[in-house]
Symmetry: C2
Subunit: 446 residues, 2 copies
Amino acid sequence: MIDPRVASGLRDILPSEMIARERMLAAFRQTFASFGYVPIDTPHIERMEVLTGKGAGSDEVLRQIFEVTNKGGKPGELALRFDLTVPLARFVAKHLNELGLPFKRYAIGSVFRGERPAKGRFREFMQCDFDTVGTISSIADVETIQVIYEALTAVGVPAFTITLSDRRILDGLLDIFGVVDKSGPVLRALDKLAKVGSEKVRAELQPLLPEFLVQKIFTIIEHGRGGPEVLDRANTEVYSQTGNSNSQSGINRLRRILELLDAAGVPQDRLKIDLGLTRGLDYYTGIVFETTVNGWEQYGSVSSGGRYGNLWRLFTDRPLSGVGGSIGLDRLLAVMRETGWRQGTSTMVPVLVARFQEVDEGIPVKLGARLRGAGVGAEVFPDAYPLGLQMSYGSSRGHKLGVIVGPDEVGREVFNLRDLATRQEQKAIPWAELEPAVKRALGMEP
Amino acid sequence: MIDPRVASGLRDILPSEMIARERMLAAFRQTFASFGYVPIDTPHIERMEVLTGKGAGSDEVLRQIFEVTNKGGKPGELALRFDLTVPLARFVAKHLNELGLPFKRYAIGSVFRGERPAKGRFREFMQCDFDTVGTISSIADVETIQVIYEALTAVGVPAFTITLSDRRILDGLLDIFGVVDKSGPVLRALDKLAKVGSEKVRAELQPLLPEFLVQKIFTIIEHGRGGPEVLDRANTEVYSQTGNSNSQSGINRLRRILELLDAAGVPQDRLKIDLGLTRGLDYYTGIVFETTVNGWEQYGSVSSGGRYGNLWRLFTDRPLSGVGGSIGLDRLLAVMRETGWRQGTSTMVPVLVARFQEVDEGIPVKLGARLRGAGVGAEVFPDAYPLGLQMSYGSSRGHKLGVIVGPDEVGREVFNLRDLATRQEQKAIPWAELEPAVKRALGMEP
């Protein structure tokens, strides 16, 4: 006998969890599509050099790569993708001529990282990415934020905050003091501020920058959290002191984005500026953002992204800017579960059709088909088990109604309708009234 | 520079193809769910012994396995799944107590086989499986066929034929003549009948069976193709001559299934009996079926399956029967493309919002948000390129309407509405009438 366990760090997803995931993914797809993003797919397996070519992957991620070999294949040639960003870069470079620009795509799929197994951390997890490639327009930045607002609203997150910054503001400051070459390590250090605290970040910055500049950065960040007024302050503290046009571009872009989000109907109280937000990844070159669920900030960001420059430089010499975001499906599901915003269910249909032993199988089959034909999902219990067993199957899974055909009813062409929560039963409803009676009981028209 | 190609035998899926796939998958999910099947997911990576444990995988499939290793992991321990059947068997054995019975699941996901690359054959492809576990009821058999009928109808296949048989009919015949131990190789040989012709199959059967029995099998098969009358003939030719109860069970089950499918409203002309249909896989023990698109039979079966016994015997000693089917997404898409039943499109939204240079970005952003709020997908072109460029972006992708805000219109709060196919334009529609004007032009209410 073989142990039916999954390998370390992997997991099975059971129906109640998977139903919630599928509903969330359907809402995301619908949101992405409504803005004109189109789906693409790339293989789970990529050529090793595509993944390890010092593109988007950090050293840590590259150490976690899963290699893939088949009989007759050479080792070291193939591997499982660790994100959807590197495949996007390769895809864009390969298909640029067929796609045309701008190119707006979304991709939803599993990625693989051989991390040390830990609670809530898995070696295979799902990413939901959407990007606009080939334009530097503010509209593309704004739509990225709109999509997150619409997607989280669509899945029922009651309150969340999208925090925005633009990397160019601090980059311009470093530039004017001749240390823009330190931008990578400085912004990566600042990215850890919320996690490790200012003392540790300060200690990390001190060997990189003169003390006055460390002090200045901390002042800008302290003054840099809030609404649109923060941008006026930044204009005074950064741009007017440095005259750096990169800093000014960042400030102006953020101001423009807030105006356009207002025009788009995104409520201002969903948005926050935080100039200390930098995102750890080196490829960002413009706006960056993160999203936290109000009251559940300790779970971290459920959706983040930003504008990037030459993501594809390994694969093509054509320069292209892009902007995009990624929604953390697993983290969002975990928050929704903790908060109780998500009702558990193990069925996707409201009706269970049951029968007594004496009733011909053709009757529940016919009644089930009629309900589905009327747009009401219906499961037919396959066996004529004792009624209590059939009904407890339904109520334990979350079916709302039982349509019961018993031996007394069959000659008379009637059925009983049971509310599986209250156990109340309407008796002897004629078959002819099946669809309206069920719809009425479910609160659907008519 | 790194070549952005995918590895041999793998592929990128571009938007026009992926939109068709996603629509098909959404229709399948909706159909599976409406019958009470619930989604599950299992990892792409399984432990090697789970996959190679002589369960469902043929020797050929096992030779094609992709091995997976990460740094620090031992070689030979992990591999990519080659189907969704072995993972189902493992999943059922592992979670039986939590799931309860009957358990109806569907699973949609990529599987991997290191086949020799060939046209139209890929090393990663998608399977869409649905199964009912833990009941021998005819209703479960019938629902499997109903799902295929509803799913193919939902995606717009105009005419198809579901061919049915029951393995027990020929098995019973072999049993009565003392050669039931040859059942595996005999049924596998017959499975190739359509592909290689009767001469080759006869040659393969001759070393296994006495000549009179080969002759008898061929007679039964020849007489065994058609409607319900075929079952009466089988009753005379097989059951009444052999008295084998297995044969009788198979004949009776097929007759019952045809009756119940009629009750369920599945048209009889979609169904065909073919007693020569056996399916190659050894785990089938009852009904088996295949589905071909009328006029496109040369593409092979687009959906097949059957009833099986101890699929999980490697993982649990609890005996359980199951029945299920699998829809071949790629094959179906290929047929739909060839026949022209599928219209190509590279967008999922009907409207493209465009603007002239002089128009503030906030206007298209606001109009786009209003359309989406009214349930009309709308893409905003991000840059104020020459109008011809923006419109040809839309018409090449399949957008139906252009909402155009030009410099003359902006002070007056009006827009032009262009039909991108006919190029006809309604001019100077007030912004206030945006939603009804667009809906009217798209043929939506009002």
